[in-house]
Symmetry: D3
Subunit: 288 residues, 6 copies
C-alpha cells in the first residue's frame, strides 16, 4: 500500500479541508498577507507515517514542501520532518489537517512496529495484522499506517474476502457445509476464512478446505494444540492460521511463539495513542 | 450537541457503509436468508456513547432495534446495550460499523469523564474541552462524544471562532494591534481567542479586549500567576482563561485548581483507548 | 472573508458549471475552434464583487485572465473589469457563470455599501450585518459579498453561534433560565444572542448575561429607550445591541443614530437588485 | 415544471440543510424537547411559490405539515400558508431553509406575474420568459418559480438548446453559414436560436431557417419593423420572435404590443425582491 | 459534442478510477518503481472513439501521452493509437479504465458508422440517431460515441425535449388536445415530438403542429404511405419524420429509402459489440 | 452477490435518475395527473436479470410493484415480468431507467448462461468468469448480472486481488522473484494470480506458489499440455488454472474440456447484446 491511490486521496483531502472550514478560515482571513516558512517537528520518538498526506494537503493549498525524513523511518523526538513555504494564510489553514494525519498515522505505525519488534527475536515471527476496527471514513489511511509500521492490512472491506465468524456459522447447520457452500458460491479469486472457537472446529475447518482459520480468543497453549493437531493430520501446510483476541505488546511474544502465521490486533487501529507533532514558524525554530 | 443533525448523520452513515462494502458484503451474501436477534454488549466499564449512530446504521439496513441503556450512562462491563432484530445478512453487514461507532465514541466519552471526575471535588472545576486534533472526516462524532462525556467541544472548525496562535501572532508586529484588527475585521458574533506563551502576553491580551486567552504550555504555578495578575488588574472577569498542553488524568487536578475556566486536552480525541464491544447472536447470549 | 476557502470554491464552481451543462455546451461545441479575447464590462455604477470567482471559472476552463480593477472598488458604469483570453468555446461556456457571480455579488455589495454610506456621517455608525436569509446553497458567496460591501456576515450557519429567538424562548418557561441554561450547555467559545420584543426582555437578557441582544422590530424611539435604560443600569458596556426589522436605505440613518452596535438587514441578501454586466468580444469592444 | 424531480429536490434539500448546519443546530440542541405547532404566514401580497420545497424540508426532518393555500395562488398579506407540527428542535432547525425557499421563489413568481398582468389586456400577449441569469446552484428552483408565476423557463442549460449570440456569431464568417452549420451539426431534436442586433440580421436569420430569433436591445419601434418586414416576406410564421433587453414592468406593455412571441427578462431571476414570510409558533399566532 | 465538458468528464473519470480501486491498486503497489512506455493498439478494424477520455485518465495519473491517430478515424487492425509514458505503477493503474473507454466507445462509433455507410449511397440519406437506451451513468460518453460515428444524439435526457409516447397519449383523451396542451405548457425553446402507431395518428399529429413525428414499429411500406400522405396534404415540410423499431444494418437501406428524416436505433448503444484494444509495453511491442 | 448492498444501490439509482433528468421530466410534467398500471414485458427469450433494480427505481418514485417472475429465471419471450402501479408521471419518469437495467443486465446474464450451457455436458465443467472489461461506473451491476447468469465475478477491482500480468512481470527481473515478492508484500488474505504466455512460465509460477495461473491466449491444445505437465509434477492440485482470450459460445466447449478450472471471457460484459423489454400500459396490454 506504499503506492497511493490518487482519486481516493484527492477526494478525501478535499473533504477533510471542507470539514475544517465549511465557510473558510476566519482567523487566517485577516492576518497580513505574507510568506512564511514552517517546519513540522515530532515531539516524541516514533515511526513516522502520513508525510505524503500532509504534503498533499499543503500542495493542494498552493504551497511548496521539502521533506527531510523518509516515510516509515524510526526517529527520535524533535526531528525536522518537513518544511512548508508560502503564503501564511494557506499554511495556517492547512496546518491542523496536516498534523492530524501525522498524529494518528504515526501513532498506528508506531504501535504496529512495537508489536512486531516484541517478537522479532523469533526465527519465524508471525505477521501482525490489523482488523476492520477502524475509524469510520478513515480506513484507507489507518490500514496504510499499519503497513508503514510493518504490519498486514488484513481484509480492507466486506467486498474483498470471506470471513465466516461465529455469528455467521450459527446460521448454518454445520461448519463443513458452510465452507463447502462458500467454496461453491464465492469467486475463485477470494480466500475463505473461518473463525473457530474450539480445536475441533479448527480441525473441521481445515479438513473442509478453509484457506485461513482464525482462532478467536484462544489461550497460547490452546493455539499450540491446534498447530500440533493440524501438523499431525498433515493439514498444517494447507491452511493459514491466525490468532486473535487480547493480544498486546506485553503478551505478543507468547502468542507469536505458538507457531501461527498471523496475529491480528484490533487495538492497532482503535487504541493507538497519537504521536505529538507541531508546525513551527521560522522565528520560533531556534527555540527547539 | 445531544440533538443530531439528520442530513449530516445520514450522509456519513451511507458513506461509511459504502467504505466497508464498495461491492457488497461477499460473506453475508451467501448465508441462509434467516431472521436473527443480536445483542450488543460492552466488554469494559465505560461511559456509553454512540448508540444513536449504531441504531441508525441498523435502521438504514431495515432492522428493528431495542435500546436498554441510555446514551451517556456510566455502565459496568457486560451490559446489554441494545438488541437488533431482522435479516441475518443485514445484521452482519451493519455489525462492524455499528460497533466501530461505539468503540471509538465510548472511548472518548469515557476518557473525558475520567478527566472531569478527577477534578470534580473542586468547588469551581474548570470545563474540560477538546481540540481540533480529531480524526479527519469524523470530527462531528468525536466532538459529540466529548459532550456525552461531559466535556466542551471548543471550536468545531476554522469557520466558527477566532484563535490567534503563536504562529499567527508572529505575522503581526504586535499582539495589541492584532487583537484590535481582529475586533474590527471579524463578525461581532464571534469571540476572539489568543494563545499566549508568557504572563506579559496574557496581560496585554486581556487589556486589548481578547474574549478568551489560551495559556499554552504553562506550568500550574505560572497559570496561577496569570490568574492573580489579571485579578489584581480588574481584568479577570472580562476574560475566559484556558490552559492547554500536557494535561493528563494524572495531573488534571493541579491544572484544575489554578483558577482557570477551561482546560483543553488534545488527547481526548487523538489518544482515547477504544472500548471493547461485541454483537452476540441469541444462541450465544447465555454464555456471557 | 477576503481569503477564499479553496476546497469550497473549487467544489462549488464545478457544481455550478455542471448545473449549466449536464451534457456539455451544445452551442459552443460546433463553433470554429479559434482563440478570442473578451472583456467583462459593468453596465451600471457599483461596488464590484465576485471577480475572484469569475476568474476561477475561466481558469478552470483553461483560460488566461487579466484583471484591471480591484475587488471591492466603487466604479462608474462601463469599466473594463477584466479580460479573458483563449479558446472561444471555453470562453463562451464559462461566460454565463462568471457573469452570474458578478451580477449577484456586486448587487449585494452595492446595496450593503449604500446602507453603510447612508449612516457614514454619524460619529459612531453601527455595523450593517446580513442575516441567514440567503439563497440556499449560495450562502458563502452572499456573505462574502456583504463583507466586500463593508458589512458584517452575522452568523454563517446554525453551527457557529447561538441565537434564541422568540419561538425558542416560548419553549422555555422564562428568559433568564433560558440564558443560564444556554451558558451552561453551550461551548465557552460561542457568544449567546437573544431576540427580544420588549424593553423589559432586553433588560432581563442583559442582566442574565446575554452577549448580544437583538431588538426585533423596535421603532427607533424604543431602541433609544433600551440603550438609555441599559446605560443607566450600567449594563450597556457588557452587551452588544443589534436592531433588526424593516431597515432600508431610506430609514437606516434613524436606526443608526439610536446608539445600537449593529443593524441587521435581511434584504441585503434576499432583495438586492442585480448589477448588469456583459462579456464583450474584442471586435465589439470599440462600440462601448 | 409543476411535477417535481424527486432525486434533484432530495439531493438539494439535504445539501441546503447541511449548508446551514455543518455541525448541527447549536441553539435547537439545548432547548426543551417538546412538540410545537407553527404556522407560516406571508407578510406581503404575493403569488405564493415554494410550498412543496418548504414542505419537504420539514418532512425530511420528521415533521407533519398541513397546507391551507395552493401553490401559485395570488394571496393578500398575512395568510396562513401552512402549518408544521412536531418536535420543536426540528421545526426550528428547518425554519430558515423553508422560509428562504418561500422568500425567494415567491419573489420571482410575483414579479413574473406582474409582468404578465401588465400586458394581459392585449389580445395576443407574448410569453414572458426567464434567462440563464440565475443564482448559481439554484437554477431549477428559480426556473420553477417563473413557471408558477405564469412565465416560460427559456433554456434550462447549455445542454438543451442552441443559442448563437453576438459573440458566437463573431467567430463565424457569416450568419447564414453559421445557421446552416448549426442545422447540420446539432441534433434534429433541438431548436436553433440566433441573437441579432439589426433588422438585416433578423431577416437573414429567418431566411436561413433559424427557429427562434432574439432581438437584442431593440427599441419597440425597431421590433415592429422586424415583425412587419418578416410578415411582408412571408417568413413570420416560420420563426419565433423573442425580444430581450431592458424590459421592466413599466415598459413591458410597449414591448408586448409589438407583435413578438416572447419577451425575455433577466431581472425575473436576478433582481426579484424577496417576499417576507414568518414562522409563528402557536402562542404568538393570535397577535397576527 | 466534439467539445468536451470539463467538469463532467473530470468528475466521471475520478469516479471511475475510484470504482476500480476503492482501496488502491494492490498489484501495482509493490512492483518496482520504474518508468515505462506503453502503446495502445486496436486489435480490430474500427472507428476509433474515446481517445480524449483515455488520454485524460493517464493525464490525471501524472503521465505523458502522445497521440498518433485522430479521434473518429477509420482504422485497420493493429494500429498504434497512442503512447503513454511515465511511472509503471500509474500506467498499470489507469490501463483498464483507459481501455474500457476505448472498447465501448469505439464499438458504438463503429456500429453507428456501419449503419450510416449502409445507406450512404442514397441521395438523401436520413440521420441515424441513438435513443435513451444507454448504460445508466454512462450516457454522455455513449451519446458522444454516436456523434463520433456520424450519428445524431437524439434527446440527451428527459429535460431537453418533449416526446409524447403511446403510454403518455393514453392518459390524454385525444392526440390533438395533447399536442395543443404541450404547445401551451412547454417552453417555446423545446420541440414537441409525438410517437404514433398508425397513419391516421401521424396525420393528426402533423395537423396539430407536432415538430417531430416518430413512426414506431412501422414497416417501410407504411412509412412511405405516411410520407406520401403528408406530402399530399402539404404538411411534409413542417414536420420532421423519425422511424424507429427493428432497424439493423441488414435492413437499414429499406428504412432509409422511405423518405424519412431520421432513423433511430436503440442497439447503437445497448448492443454494440466492444472493439478489442491492448496496452503493450515497449519490450513486447515488436511482437505485434 | 444475490444480496444487494443498499448504500451502493441507493446512491447509484439516484445518480442515474438525475442523469436522465437534470431539470426534471418535461414531458411527464404536463400530462394529466392520473393513476395507471403498467406491465414490463420481455420481447425475447432470456435469463431475466435486473428486476431488483427496476423495482427500486419505481419504489424510489413512490410506486407499487408486483413481481411475477423470479430474478434469474429462464423465460420465453413476452412474459409479464412485473407490474407497476401509481401516478402516471412517476411511472413514465422511471420507465427508461428501469428498462435500461433490464436490457443490459438480462443481456449479460443470458450470454453468461449460454456459455455455461455450452459446456454443461462435461463432467467437470470449468467456471465461466467475467473480467474487469466493464462499463465505467456500472461494474457492480454488470458483475451481478454475471452471477445471475451462473458465472463467477472474478476480481471486482484492483483492491481485492493480485494479478501480475505480462506488463507487470516485465518490470521484474524474473517471474519467481516477482511471486516471492508478492507473497511477502501482499496481505495474507489475498490470492496471487499470474498471467503467463508460455508453458514454462506456467510451471515456474506453480513452483513459486502462485495461487492462480492465467493462461493468456493459449490454444486448447497448449492448455492441455500445461494441465498435463503440472499434474506430472504434482503441482496441479495446488493451483487454480484459468484460460483467457478468444473464448466464444462457439468454441467454449473446446476450452472447457481442457481440464482448466476457469474460463474468463471479456465479452460477457463488453459485448453482450441487450435484451428487448417494454413497459406496456393497461389499455395496450391485450394487444400483446
Amino acid at each position: 500500500m506504499g503506492y497511493l491511490p490518487d482519486p481516493l486521496v484527492d477526494l478525501k483531502i478535499k473533504e477533510y479541508l471542507l470539514e475544517d472550514m465549511p465557510f473558510g478560515d476566519l482567523t487566517a482571513a485577516f492576518i497580513p498577507n505574507k510568506d512564511v516558512k514552517g517546519t513540522i517537528i515530532n515531539k516524541e520518538q516514533c515511526i513516522i507515517a502520513g508525510i505524503p498526506f500532509a504534503h498533499r494537503v499543503f500542495q493542494y493549498l498552493g504551497l511548496d514542501t521539502h521533506q527531510y525524513i523518509a516515510e516509515g523511518a524510526k526517529i527520535d523526538a524533535n526531528q525536522r520532518i518537513f518544511t512548508v513555504k508560502g503564503n501564511a494564510r494557506a499554511v495556517l489553514t492547512g496546518e491542523r489537517l496536516a498534523l492530524n494525519f501525522l498524529i494518528r498515522l504515526s501513532g498506528i505505525a508506531t504501535l504496529t512496529h512495537q508489536l512486531i519488534q516484541a517478537s522479532s527475536s523469533l526465527p519465524q515471527a508471525p505477521r501482525i495484522a490489523a482488523t476492520r476496527k477502524t475509524t469510520p471514513g478513515f480506513r484507507f489511511f489507518e490500514k496504510y499506517a499499519v503497513t508503514i509500521g510493518g504490519g498486514d492490512t488484513h481484509r480492507l472491506s466486506l467486498s474483498d474476502g470471506i470471513l465466516l465468524k461465529e455469528n455467521h456459522l450459527s446460521i448454518f447447520s454445520d461448519l463443513t457445509k458452510a465452507i463447502q457452500y462458500a467454496k461453491k458460491q464465492v469467486s475463485f479469486t477470494k480466500k475463505i476464512e473461518i473463525e473457530v472457537t474450539t480445536i475441533e472446529m479448527a480441525v473441521n475447518a481445515a479438513q473442509a478446505g478453509a484457506n485461513i482459520i482464525m482462532l478467536d480468543n484462544f489461550e497460547p497453549s490452546q493455539i499450540r494444540k491446534v498447530v500440533d493437531r493440524l501438523s499431525e493430520m498433515g493439514l498444517r501446510a494447507n491452511v493459514c492460521l491466525e490468532a486473535s483476541g487480547g493480544i498486546t505488546s506485553e503478551n505478543v511474544i507468547e502468542f507469536a511463539s505458538t507457531g501461527v502465521d498471523v496475529l491480528s490486533v484490533g487495538s492497532l487501529t482503535h487504541s493507538a495513542k497519537g504521536i505529538d507533532f507541531s508546525l513551527v514558524f521560522e522565528p520560533f525554530l531556534e527555540k527547539i
